[in-house]
Symmetry: C2
Subunit: 314 residues, 2 copies
């Protein structure tokens, strides 16, 4: 592994003729947005470019140009292509690109912003202070004077905005906003992007209504719980982001607890705090994490797990 | 009235020794944030500066520096001061500054971003393409090389973010994001500001839960209604923003309708659409507005008003 500079990255891209882009499994907005924008940028530089993901591309990103050019691993197994470079975007470990890694023997390049990056690539361009890989791609295009088209600006704005909670997370820096500004200057429309990304189905809204009925407060409203029962978990799958924020936004709440019924006798717990060390609470149940964000799994039905947690907190 | 350039504004501020700042009644985040930041900037330029608002400053803005220096009209009636300039920020009409206008005879200057500005001031600096007055103040400080302190950056970021829906409204431009970037570079912390501004009380969350139970869908989920009954209206007062967005975010919804029980036999209706001309619907009930955002008042109890509306839409 070697960490490379922006100029070394530039030279490598200039030298490559045929480039395969990929991102991590369970691709999010930053992964997909960064990939289709970088695809368009590299095509614009005269490269032959392919895109592969060892997963399904979520339907909600299909409004972005060139998402229909993304293929799965099976496609390239049937339609093999020679490449000079495997460019991995937004993935911090080799395992995160799934079966893509085994398909080609070309040098692996990695552009990423995760501090947890395992340095798995042959050549790594890591920017841990950037909020999103989309922020890095925008920065690179700007530095290299590669034109940012309207479709690239839209994809990159979506990438940046989804990874920094629409500029509400602590990873939002002046550079994050400056790069987002370049996307809007290129034609990205913030209102259209936020409306598209934040659209929910009527059934999802109905589920949210039901989940909100489970909210409970303890200790003078300083502790709050919200529950996803088995039925809700079946519908939601991994898509449980946001529920804990409903109670964390309450002014008096210090500890916000999301309880997820993973099975009838197993409950996954996410703890968020504004001050109290929730790592200590999670440790009581064999879990852990950070002072303000921790998790644990309790081998009890949800209601019993909740009571056990509240007892420990009291 | 004369419209002035940025240089004329600069000269006028340099010449003034004693400046009274004011904003519109029912002050919002942009008004308060712009005022306290401009206050600090002008004090930094050696000016004697006062702040007056003919209204109460909402408690949620008290985390900003110098909000405790804002006085009401009664204060200056008891403690009169001589001023060279009355600087009106973020107010588009003379009426919007309440009783402040009658208290001094100094020339009135107006810095504003509302396209609807009535040009009431003696000297007007209007930037209708700016999302917020806070964006204008940041721009002025940057152009004039006036230092932006951390507390100014925090106030101005809050001002900008609240007026463009945290960068989700269509008024968000590249310049909006660039000015927000300057605020963050000065020390503003986007996560702290968003958490502070978006904090809700436990009782407000309880009310939201109840209001969400009133959601109804019509016409294959393309029309949705949400209701604020008399009890909810008494608690909320003017603070009814956001409820219509709950249903507008549903992917299938074209027409989103917020019904507010202003009295037992009078219902205020807000209509939002993604395509259909809701101005035409509102006109049926003597109201109006724009194609995608209109309103009307129906002299019927809420449930009857709702039925009448749905009949017209069908």
């Amino acid at each position: 592994m070697s960490k490379i500079t922006i100029n070394q990255l530039h030279v490598a891209l200039c030298e490559a003729n045929s480039i395969m882009l990929t991102v991590h499994v369970r691709p999010d907005g930053d992964a997909i947005g960064s990939m289709v924008a970088f695809y368009e940028a590299l095509v614009g530089q005269g490269k032959t470019v392919y895109m592969v993901v060892d997963d399904v591309v979520p339907e909600k990103y299909s409004f972005l140009r060139y998402t229909d050019h993304i293929h799965d691993v099976a496609y390239f197994e049937t339609n093999p292509v020679d490449i000079d470079m495997l460019m991995v975007l937004d993935a911090s470990t080799y395992e995160r690109i799934g079966k893509v890694g085994a398909l080609w023997s070309a040098p692996i390049f990695n552009i990423d912003h995760h501090i947890s990056n395992t340095e798995f690539a042959d050549h790594l361009y890591l920017k841990p202070n950037f909020a999103a890989t989309g922020e890095i791609i925008t920065y690179l295009c700007t530095k290299w004077n590669w034109p940012i088209t309207e479709s690239m600006g839209t994809a990159l704005y979506m990438a940046i905005a989804t990874d920094c909670g629409f500029f509400k997370f602590s990873n939002t820096t002046a550079n994050t906003l400056e790069m987002a500004a370049k996307c809007v200057a290129a034609g990205a429309r913030p209102n259209v992007i936020s409306e598209t990304i934040e659209a929910v189905s009527a059934s999802r809204l109905e589920l949210t209504k039901q989940v909100m009925q489970t909210i409970e407060f303890y200790k003078n409203n300083t502790v709050a719980t919200i529950e996803l029962n088995r039925e809700a978990m079946t519908i939601l799958g991994d898509d449980t982001d946001g529920f804990v924020d409903i109670i964390r936004n309450v002014d008096t709440v210090d500890i916000a607890i999301l309880l997820k019924a993973e099975a009838d006798d197993r409950t996954r717990v996410s703890l968020r705090s504004k001050g109290t060390d929730v790592n200590a609470i999670a440790s009581n149940f064999g879990g852990g994490g950070h002072i303000r964000a921790s998790g644990c799994t309790i081998n009890l039905p949800l209601q019993e797990a909740k009571q056990a947690l509240i007892e420990v907190i009291k």
